[in-house]
Symmetry: C2
Subunit: 475 residues, 2 copies
């Protein structure tokens, strides 16, 4: 592979940056340690030489142009909630903090879109849209990620089973290319066949092809009512086995999550509140489905609930607990939404795998994964999106040294990625590749696809300055 | 731009092809004239040197490899129903007739996908799926296009307003690259963040990046009932003006088409049957909306119909005619589905524009387009997808010489594409770019995006042998 040589940020460059964005340029001792990592520090920490607060498309274009001319790396970073090391300045350079561009610019109610800066947090858009009777459907577990980061990873989330992923809600974007050129992609339309879809190439490119500086996102009228069900099962196999039956009954849940008891226990310890039943009718509960239906009125939802209950009870559910008040729904989902924090709170060494497999292979896949646990010194905790086959499998250890942990995890990951491929799945459902999963991607997609990706990267970024060392190009 | 020199197909190559696919290789006098054009011959006809019937992925890979080694162009062609010249062998070479690979391979009811060869006709999949209680939602006007062609243009169609475009239903594909390598893209999953989306790059690439040899497509449970409404208006402005009101009322039609009276007249002449009212309450009808709602039961649909009627009558509709029996629905949609054939039947010289504009700009845009009619010797006929802003504007002439027609049309197109851009729209909603619209795409997206597209093309196709002279690379 071609060698790229980067320069250090020079004092002249820093002066030039300060002239473009006075007071927004941070250097050396002035840079918070947080900028050296994301939520998965095990993939390596690294400090950027300079951090610049994002301001406008034009300013960013000027800054990137200077970096391009000087062969200095540029790394766009959102809220730093990523799980693959994608926003880490592995080769130093200039990190642009896009979370500072956080204005919701405009709703267009006739075309049902909202224009936002990329640093708006998912949670902020969700709340703002709700006040207007609208729903922005993508709903990743991490509510304090930026929308730019969500687009950069094609984040999926809980509602993907009914509404699709972030990709399906991006209508247009403004992008600063690694050369400093500004390009607009897409438009406020839902249909297009106007040349190669650069828009879709940008989605999921993890800040390696361009810096997203504005987004136009589709919104929908918010469903008027929702109802959630906690469905306990004796074991994970029965729990997952119930999922295809719900689909076959055409019930179309908005969200359909599975969780093992260990992770519910951890979450409830973290929240200090017990919501999920642990034992029913003398049976120890081993796993749960958490299901939400949405609709226009409660009568319709109650009917759906009855139909769903019939299906899951027949499939082996021990009971069906209905969360139909705001407080009950909040409690049920609070447990789900704090899984990662709960795991982090009680785990010293952590790694994860975010495969996606066909929904009818989930049970087989998870059974296989669990069968490996005895071979390693770490614990395995899993939860995920039963509705779309996207599984989050965490390796957790408190009493291992980091080297041994990493070696064991790498061995484990190779085996479970291979199994995912055998099941017809893919390496990552929504977290992306970053630097942490590049080797596994290579194993899975093969040399030809990797060659195409690297070629595309070079078309966008001939000097390889934008977020180097991620997805397809190891330096 | 780089120069590419192509060789002619040699007798040795023909022998090699015959050894790979005996009896499937057609040369010279043996090639039907149909292979020299698509449905828009005005963009130029050209005969391939050899036509080969598509058979299997492996055979096609071998054939393409030979062409690659010999620098001979390869052109994949579906049913030839394209409207931009995309499947025309402008530089000679080998045309592969993909319509011969037309088997529906397998339904996977647990994952709700169907695996097909790319030459299956849209109509054949639609009928087959319906028998299984399933719906393949994309519904372009041309039912006898191949699914491979639909994917290659990201065809949208009538139901895009509710269900999205072809892009949203492609889960995976097998592709033969211009080098003869075979790559699988995507998987039977709805979520992925596993490197750059080569799958989404292939969709809409009009046979220039690779040859699609297999598709895995998402299907959904078929809605149990549908109801259609013919809604006459005095003029086009009021007709289009009613559209945003339907959206604001959250009525979610499955299809929402507008049509001017001239085109309904042409269609009914072609079909020999009158279905649409021409005059009501002493008012001459100038334009129509044709709306379809789908749902699980007729009661719900009747309620929707009443709500929709209230909205459109308030917006100036003269009446609302309900088509609630299979025969009535068929008649109403037969008129819509034969527009292009009806126009072709009574027109000698034909060109078209397929822009897409934000839905709240449709009326302004069409009023502008019609205001230009007096300046030209051709007639303008328009219809399109009021629900998604995708407009089909036809220039039709019977008494002009071709040169004058082409010159006038080019002048007209430049003006209306510019206006589409000013309205925030795009060059093509679903027909694509092919060879016919390359110059307009260049004007609209600008040199930087065109450079990226050309770069991508060269990454996939270093010798520029696959469908040369289309989308972004004029030779």
């Amino acid at each position: 592979m071609e060698e790229f040589v980067y320069n250090k940020v020079s004092p002249e460059m820093i002066e030039a940056f300060q002239a473009i964005v006075p007071g927004k340029v941070h250097v050396n001792g002035d840079i918070n340690e947080d900028y050296s990592h994301d939520e998965m520090p095990i993939y390596g920490k690294a400090m950027p030489e300079v951090v610049i607060d994002g301001t406008t498309t034009e300013d960013i274009a000027k800054i990137v142009k200077i970096c391009y001319e000087n062969s200095v790396p540029v790394i766009p970073r959102g809220a730093g909630t990523g799980l693959t090391g994608a926003a880490v300045a592995l080769h130093g350079g200039v990190l642009i903090d896009m979370s500072k561009m956080n204005k919701i610019l405009e709703y267009d109610m006739e075309n049902m879109v909202v224009r936002v800066e990329p640093g708006v947090l998912l949670n902020d858009l969700a709340e703002d849209a709700r006040k207007k009777g609208l729903l922005y459907p993508p709903d990743p577990g991490e509510k304090f990620a930026t929308l730019g980061g969500n687009v950069a990873t094609n984040a999926g989330g809980m509602r993907a089973v009914k509404y699709g992923c972030t990709r399906d809600y991006v209508r247009a974007m403004t992008v600063v290319l690694p050369t400093g050129e500004i390009v607009k992609m897409g438009a406020t339309v839902s249909k297009t066949s106007s040349g190669y879809s650069l828009l879709n190439l940008m989605i999921g490119s993890e800040g390696t092809l361009g810096i997203i500086t504005e987004l136009t996102l589709k919104v929908i009228p918010a469903p008027k009512e929702t109802i959630s069900l906690i469905i306990p099962f004796e074991n994970l196999e029965e729990c997952i086995g119930a999922v295809p039956r719900l689909f076959m009954a055409h019930l179309q849940p908005q969200a359909l999550e599975f969780m093992e008891k260990e992770i519910i226990y951890a979450s409830e310890r973290y929240l200090g509140k017990s919501v999920f039943p642990k034992e029913l009718e003398g049976i120890d509960i081993g796993a749960y489905l958490l299901v939400t239906f949405d609709g226009e009125d409660m009568d319709g939802l109650e009917e759906l609930t009855e139909q769903a209950a019939e299906v899951v009870l027949e499939a082996g559910a021990i009971d069906v607990l209905v969360a139909d008040t705001p407080a009950k729904k909040k409690d049920a989902w609070a447990a789900r939404n704090t899984f990662l924090e709960a795991i982090e709170a009680e785990t010293k060494l952590l790694d994860e795998c975010d495969v996606v497999v066909p929904v009818n292979r989930i049970a087989e896949y998870l059974t296989f994964v669990k069968s490996l646990e005895d071979q390693y010194d770490f614990q395995i905790k899993s939860f995920g999106h039963a509705g779309d086959g996207n599984l989050h499998i965490y390796t957790c250890a408190n009493d291992m040294d980091e080297e041994t942990f990493k070696r064991q995890v790498d061995d484990f990951m190779k085996i479970i990625y291979k199994k995912a491929a055998e099941c017809g799945g893919l390496i990552s459902g929504e977290h992306g590749i970053g630097s942490g999963k590049m080797a596994y991607l290579n194993d899975y997609v093969g040399e030809t696809s990797m060659r195409l990706m690297r070629g595309i990267k070079q078309v966008f970024d001939p000097k390889m300055i934008l977020n180097p060392g991620k997805i397809c190009y190891k330096l």
